[in-house]
Symmetry: C2
Amino acid sequence: VSEPQATSGRARGRPRAAEATDTREAIVAAARTRFAENGFRGASVRSIASAAGVDPGLVRHYFGDKSGLLIATMQLPVNPLELIKPLFDQGPDGLGRRIVATFLSAWDPHREVFTGLIRTAIASADHESPLVEVLRSVLLTGLQGCMTGPDRELRATLIMSQILGMATLRYVLAIEPLASAPAEQVADEYGPLLQALITPN
Amino acid sequence: VSEPQATSGRARGRPRAAEATDTREAIVAAARTRFAENGFRGASVRSIASAAGVDPGLVRHYFGDKSGLLIATMQLPVNPLELIKPLFDQGPDGLGRRIVATFLSAWDPHREVFTGLIRTAIASADHESPLVEVLRSVLLTGLQGCMTGPDRELRATLIMSQILGMATLRYVLAIEPLASAPAEQVADEYGPLLQALITPN
């Protein structure tokens, strides 16, 4: 079962892994084309699977839902969905600080990428950036499960606004001392503010 | 002393007022040119006065300092300096809510203008937008006088980040329910968060 021509060290598992990688890439390429042609809402998982020549079940197996597929087409250094979802598993206690700390640990090493995302979202003429839409729905869903008190939906969008404002000043506008403040210090100052929106009183 | 050809009602005062308007406009035009040529920092009030053919004292009389001149060149529907400075006159009590309510009352009628400002500031490659710089210094100066506790400068930039984030979600990205929530409700929810940064504990 030896493969004399193999240049990679992953001898035995390689063919199957390489095939999976090819399939994933074919699905991502098909998704990118469909999203560009029909928009995020107009493109169905079924039509993307069909364009990639695979079963829709395989698309769901690799990417979860259409949101996961959108994130995959963007080739981000961090997957926001994988970051956000576990935040809520530990319940509302300390959630405000966890959100800030997790956000900063993910994006501090990739300031330029974040700046590009913000510029694209803000420069786009339409108000319905699919990325913003996806993040909003994931954040809202998770937050609603942890929040108490009235006006939860408004408070959830105010939490988004705090994160976006913080990131814009820290990365895009690079205003000191926020731009260079240690992540721990920012989380200490900002965490309680988010917490006050999550569990008021 | 009657003026048969005058079409305006402001008969007697008009010539002098019109002259003052001409002088102001000449100064603003000279400032716009100098800022474009030498940047905000590189252009002096003296050089702007000289280009407009007036005394530097007259520039200060009309516009205060160079920041006032910058705001005048931007032809904004509201003058942020005139909005911001009186906020601090009433001291730290309720300042957080006053900042949010004043901001929203000024910009809610001019969402498109604010969106344009944000797009310009965020799209510009350099991190030193003179408008951001001016607002930062005015806000910082005013806030520092009202703030208590440690890390005042960091907390002041976090206040800026909250306002910017709120405005970006409300006006630029138009995310509901924040986009359409009554200003009073937003001030009620958001004011205490700013207040917690102004007077912690």
